[in-house]
Amino acid sequence: MIFDFVIYILIGIGIFFNVLAGVGLLRFPDVYTRLHAGTKCTTFGSIFLIGSVILIGLKMWWEKDTNGSVLAIHSTLALIAILLTNPVGAHAIARAAHRSGVQPAHAVIDELAQKPMEKTQKKDKKINQQKGGD
């Protein structure tokens, strides 16, 4: 009974964050903020929804149903696939958007286009190489 209650709470949190992702995708003004809403909220909601599925699998396994362990293990694999691939895809989209020239809304300066870090890092590398050569 308490187990079912925990499962319902996990389902509620997951649905809430997934709907929030859809609303944020519609309401935000910009590619980068839309990416922020669409990726993070769906990842967080997916953790809770698939977590509830894992709990159901463990409960079935506890009641001597062999399908339960298969359900729990395979949904864990699906969760791991989401957790590994979603942030990498979001980073690739953000990088592609910036390189194809999309500016953030209400942006004043673009610090990535100036690339101050890269120059200083190159200088540091040269200095380090000279020190290493000596």
Partner: protein
């Protein structure tokens, strides 16, 4: 009182609402990266929906399909991002 397994059919219907919200962004998006963000969100929601269907109908094979779909959609997202960047690849 609804059964615990049929609750997941309600979950799938709520997730289809999210898919419709993201689809509006895909259709309206002013730039190409906006549409890619919408498609990426739809992919993640469809994966969760497949897992929920697997619990609702007690078929484990739907979850295997979800794993394969996750990996393939990741590859397609990376490829579209690489295409949007331009240049050689």
């Amino acid at each position: 009182m609804i059964d615990l397994y049929t609750t997941y059919l309600l979950v799938v219907s709520a997730l289809s609402l999210c898919v419709i919200l993201a689809l509006i962004r895909v259709l309206r998006g002013p730039t190409a990266p906006d549409r890619v963000v919408g498609v990426d969100t739809i992919n993640t929601i469809v994966i969760v929906g497949m897992v929920a269907f697997g619990v609702a109908f007690r078929e484990v094979i739907y979850i295997d399909v979800a794993i394969v779909y996750a990996l393939l959609s990741f590859v397609s997202t990376l490829f579209i991002a690489k295409y949007l960047e331009g240049g050689d690849f």
